[in-house]
Symmetry: C2
Subunit: 264 residues, 2 copies
C-alpha cells in the first residue's frame, strides 16, 4: 500500500496521478486538516507534524510514502528518512529534474513558486543546482495562494486570485521562464490564471512528477504495494469538507471512505 500525506486536501493531486499511472495500487491518504496550513510554520513544528503523520501511515502498514506537501518535502525529508526505513518520496526531486531539463532546452530560466516555508528552505534551488548546468532560478513565496484556493477562488476570472498572482509574478513575467515549478499542491488549481500570465512557460505540477518518481523507484526496487485498487482517506478534522473537495479533485465521490482520526 502507498501512503500519501499532505497538510490538507491538495495532496489529492498526487492520488489522482498515482491512480492514473497505476490504477490498481492501494492508497492510504492522510490530510492533517485540523492543522493546515503548514507553509507559515517554523521548521521545528513542520518536522514534528510530519513525523506524527508518517507514524500514523506506518501504523496502517504502508509500504512507501509519497509526501505530497511542498512544505514538508522542502523541510523535513532528511528527518523522516532518518526515522523511518521505508521509501519516502517528496515533491522536490521530480519537479526539479523536469524543470532543469526544460530550462536547459529553453532559455535557462526557472521560476519556483511555493509557500513561505518552502521558499525559505531553498530546497528546490539546492536540488536543481545538483545538475550543475547554467540555469537561473527565481524563487518566490506566494503565501496568500493557499487560503485563496481553500476559499474556492480558483476561477480564471477571480479578481482576488488574479491580483495576488499578478503581484507575486510582477518581476518574473517579463523574464518568460522556460519552466515554472508549482511547488505547492494547491497551486495547480490556479493553473488557468498562471497560464494567462505566463503563456510561454511550462507549468510543472510537483505532485504529478512525484507520483512518476515514486512509481519508478518502487519498480526498480521490486516493491509490491498491493493491487486491489482500494483507497482510504484519513483526515484530522471533520470529513465533510474534505469529501466535498475530494469530489472536485478526483472527479468521484469518496465520502464513504473518509474517516476522522487524531495524530497529535
Amino acid at each position: 500500500m502507498i501512503g500519501v500525506f499532505d497538510s490538507g486536501v491538495g495532496g489529492l493531486t498526487a492520488v489522482k496521478a498515482l491512480s492514473r499511472l497505476k490504477p490498481g495500487w492501494d492508497i492510504t491518504y492522510l490530510g492533517d486538516t485540523a492543522r493546515v496550513p503548514y507553509g507559515t510554520r517554523s521548521r521545528e513544528v513542520i518536522d514534528r507534524y510530519a513525523l506524527q503523520a508518517c507514524r500514523f501511515l506506518i501504523s496502517k502498514e504502508v509500504d512507501a510514502i509519497l509526501v505530497a506537501c511542498g512544505t514538508v518535502s522542502s523541510n523535513s525529508l532528511p528527518v523522516l528518512r532518518q526515522n523511518f526505513e521505508l521509501p519516502i518520496t517528496g515533491v522536490v526531486e521530480g519537479a526539479s529534474k523536469k524543470a532543469y531539463e526544460n530550462a536547459m532546452a529553453g532559455n535557462g530560466i526557472i521560476a519556483v513558486l511555493g509557500t513561505a516555508a518552502t521558499i525559505k528552505s531553498g530546497a528546490y534551488e539546492k536540488e536543481i543546482k545538483k545538475y550543475g548546468g547554467n540555469v537561473r532560478i527565481i524563487s518566490r513565496a506566494c503565501p496568500l495562494l493557499v487560503p485563496l484556493v481553500e476559499n474556492g477562488r480558483t476561477g480564471v476570472d477571480d479578481s482576488l486570485s488574479n491580483i495576488a498572482i499578478a503581484e507575486y509574478l510582477a518581476d518574473i513575467i517579463p523574464k518568460k521562464p522556460a519552466a515554472v515549478i508549482l511547488g505547492c499542491t494547491h497551486y495547480p488549481l490556479l493553473s488557468g490564471i498562471f497560464s494567462l500570465f505566463l503563456p510561454e512557460s511550462l507549468l510543472i505540477n510537483s505532485a504529478e512528477e512525484a507520483a512518476v518518481s515514486l512509481c519508478g523507484l518502487l519498480e526498480k526496487r521490486h516493491i509490491d504495494v498491493g493491487s486491489s485498487g482500494k483507497s482510504v482517506f484519513y483526515v484530522t478534522d471533520d470529513p465533510s469538507g474534505f469529501s466535498k473537495n475530494g469530489k472536485a479533485f478526483l472527479g468521484k465521490d469518496i465520502s464513504d471512505r473518509v474517516y476522522q482520526i487524531s495524530i497529535d
Copy 2:
C-alpha cells in the same frame, strides 16, 4: 493574574486594552501559533484546542481567562465553563451589548463580521436577541481577512484587502448599519478600510469590549489578580514572528518575554 488566549497574535488587542484599563494587572498570554487559524475548523476541533489552551493557562495559575478569539468565544465557552471554575469571558457578550445599544439609538441595523466558524455558530445573533429589541442583524463570514492580516495586508490602500472587503460588504454597505461588530481580533487592523466603506457605522472592537466586561466582572466579584504589572507571552510556534507582530500591536518590544511551549 489574567490569562489571555487567542489562536495567534490577534488577542494582543485585548492585552493592549487591559493594559490601558488596568496598567498594573499581571497578564499571561497564550497564542496557539502552531495551529492558527481556528476559524476554518470544526466545532469539535475548536473545543479540543480551547480546552488544551485553558488547561495550560490554569497551570500557570491565572485567576481568570479572557478568550480573545472570536471563533472560540462563539463556539466553546459552554464547554470551557463546564470544565473550569474560574471566571471566563469571551468576546461575544460585550460587543453584542454595545452593538445593541447603538442599533437601538440608531437605525436598528447591526452587521456581524467574523470567521466561518464564528458566523456558523450564530453566537452573536443569539446574544443580541436576548435583549429583545427590534433589531435587524446581518451576519457575514469573511474567511480571507485573517490570512490577509497575517500577511501584513493592512494598509488602507492595499488592493487585495480593499477588494475582499468590498466583496464581503457588498450588500451591507447600502444598508448603513448603525453598528458593525468586528467579531475577530484580527479585523481591527483593517479598521481603516472598513471606515472607508462604512463611514457612518460604529465599528466595534470585540476584544476591547471584552476587556471592559472582564474588568467589571472581577471588580464585582472582588477578585484580586495581582498588580506587579508583569506580562509574559507563550506561543506554540517559533517566537520570533510573534515578537515582531507584538511590537506592532502593543507599541513596545516584548521579545525578552516570549517563550515557546507545547500544549497538545
